[in-house]
Amino acid sequence: MVSAPTAGVTTEGSALRVSEVSKTFPTLEETDSRTHALDGVSLSVEAGELICFLGPSGCGKSTLLRLITGLDFPDSGELWVGNEPITGPSAERGLVFQDPNLFPWLTVRRNIEAGLVARGVLHEKRGEVDDFMRLVGLSEFANAYPHHLSGGMAQRVALARALINHPKVLLLDEPLGALDAFTRMRMQDEVLRLWEARGTTMLFVTHDIDEAIYMSDRIVLMTPRPGRIERIIDVTLDRPRQRSSQEFLRLRGDILELLHFSGHP
């Protein structure tokens, strides 16, 4: 059972604590009624852990991720990274969306540099840009513009762009959702490789049960209306995991059962 990055690798990640967080949004039709996106959600994440949020649409997974980035604020409750409360967006918490959202006016290299430019440290850290392009295997595309890239390549650039700031927590909102099945499985390995190399704490939103089992240390099952944590499942399978092993399939069956999707007997 390997749940933390391999021994000997420094952990860049940082622990995370979410306590009693609630968030509502105004419902579009009726102005005085509000949708409970999150209702009293609490969660503790260890440094260097890889957590998957699994659940149907509307269960508040993305909202929770947005609160952790600091792009949005909870109605009540607290969020902490390490010993610091989250008060706004920071380069310590990277974000990757389903749409890579690369800046189309910048080349691959300039996109990856963006974080260094934004923090005003490009001069000191320029050398790292090449490392990161190599890390995601895109060195030969340094001067290509995003519209020349395939979906998988664009998502790798987005990962490198988020990782260059050495974030303590990396938030991934269905980052592989738009990719075809084969590219997707390749990218899962890629994300795992980056995670093992860096020890970044990763929070990963997905709709895909296999993906959640294949990747995570723990799976956080969420239910909608109001968004709540239904259950937290420890995934104790050895890494690298076998997608068709007995234990894998058994866990898959258990989760389907919990979500009431196991089918009629």
């Binding site: 792009l71 800046f103 963006a114 934004a118 513009y145």
Partner: protein, 344 residues
Amino acid sequence: MNATPELQETRDTSAPPKAIAAAQSGSHAPKISLGTLLGLPAAVAGSLIVHLLISKAEMPDETRDYTIFLSGALGVSLVLVAAQAFWMGLRHWLKESGPILIAVALLLCVGEVATTGFRWLPMPYFPSPAGILQSMIHDRVMIFDSTWHSLLLLAGGYSLGVVAGVVSGVLIGWFAPWRYWGTPILKWVGPVPATAWIPLALVVSPSAILSAVGLIAFAVWFPVTMLTASGISNTRASYLDVARTLGAKPSYLVFRVAIPAAMPNIFIGLFMGLGSSFLTLVVAETVGVKSGLGWYVSWAQGWAEYGKVYGALVIMSAFFSTIMTVLFKVRDRVLVWQKGTIKW
């Protein structure tokens, strides 16, 4: 769609011998029709013959320059037809532009027949092509001078308008208070044509030149502000979110995210502004400033020298379309990241 330009290039270089062989055998060269190839010198020669026949009855002084012009054009067209056999780029261009050049030669011929030839069109309002060329050559110093003055006025007014428009567009598009106070101004003052302010401009401004610069700047300011503001405020929220999580400060969000994202819109504003700046330039020169091509046209008209009027129009067309082309080139350079996705 994995292919990037680099990738394609390396693929191409893997097979250079074949490409060269194809070029040498001529199978890769564009096929140019015999009609275009012979039609161009024939059309020019036809115009020259018609001109020589018609101008027999005219004073030789007034038609000599046009004879030289058409003879020169004939020489050039013969050289083009001969050179395209060896020069691939020229052949491409000739295949593309040949029919248009033929049409121009024929149009000149028709113009001459309709004016000097049969005198279908009333004089002095419709001089012959020969007469127009004669006036242009005769008045070349003044026309050059007027063009120069127009260029200065346009450059001053346009750049002032662009700077003001981009600045106010960014302010209105980004900051809520600026949007609140700026939108009504934009909505009520902007649509009034710049030329409608001429009476006020003449009263307020200490000099006619300054008032013209101000009017042109105003004409450019409105579309540039409008399009810049809409581009800025429509910046994809997720670009801004990503930038914030990368550690971006507000200045980065404005200058490195919102403005680049708005660039395609800003260029639409620049083109619209350029169009209205031409209009405003010509009108302002006519009524206020006593120099420039606009003034020259109305001055020549006052003396009933229509040859000069048309001569100035020819220069104006070349002048304005050159500026337009320059802006297109700038656009292609700045928006190179959109290459293949823009269609205008």
